[in-house]
Symmetry: C2
Subunit: 153 residues, 2 copies
Amino acid sequence: MTIERDDNYFMQEALKEAQKAAIENEVPIGAVLVLNNKIVARSHNQTELLKDVTAHAEILVITGAASELGIKFFEDFTLYVTLEPCTMCAGALKWARIGKIVYATDDPKAGFSLYSKNIIHPKTIFEKGPGEKESKILLQNFFKLRRKSDTKY
Amino acid sequence: MTIERDDNYFMQEALKEAQKAAIENEVPIGAVLVLNNKIVARSHNQTELLKDVTAHAEILVITGAASELGIKFFEDFTLYVTLEPCTMCAGALKWARIGKIVYATDDPKAGFSLYSKNIIHPKTIFEKGPGEKESKILLQNFFKLRRKSDTKY
């Protein structure tokens, strides 16, 4: 038996990663990397835990998968991510030659497309997928709580 | 006694890193990170060694320094790098809030300024420094050799 997974399934998994980030007091962004209908790597933003501004979900997924799977390029892979990648991540995904990026919601503050849509690789398929509402709620709740906590302490 | 170092000195050190990269058969790009007239971190491109497309000199310097020095932001630091940063590195340097970037030569193929000059942080000083000729020669020789070797094997 083969279970066919779809964009909804994979984005829900990316959202689960984003939820983990929120619980860990990290900006709630998650990503999963998919090859042949299977998740091969998953991660979430860990900039606080790792004290590393580059530890975005996309970078962690790509570098982790490269290291674990022993590959450098990802032409046949799809990355599901809960927020539009920033310029750093879009640049990294270009070097990684990712085949396809599916994202849940635009990032009107730091999304790469604010600067240039050409930052990603010309062969990369880039499309908006499901999960916009869930991703936005996660992000909004996180920043609301953070603002409250900033006022308190 | 205090020895005052200048841009020439620091860029020569970045070029030494680029030379190390060339010897290791990596694309010859080097970087040093400077605080208060002292080099606090240095690195070179290691994408082949680490099998990691994100292992550019700038990323390695910033993440290494963050980890070793226990800091996240670099407002008071200057990065000397032998080639104009790509969009990934420019984005990472934005998140790291680097104070100043001095680079030796433009990257007409992948430099971030091809896409948007606003990718780096608005407060970051970005300027061309010394070392253009040396950096270009290193890169040209490397790619010449690589092309020859591609023909052979």
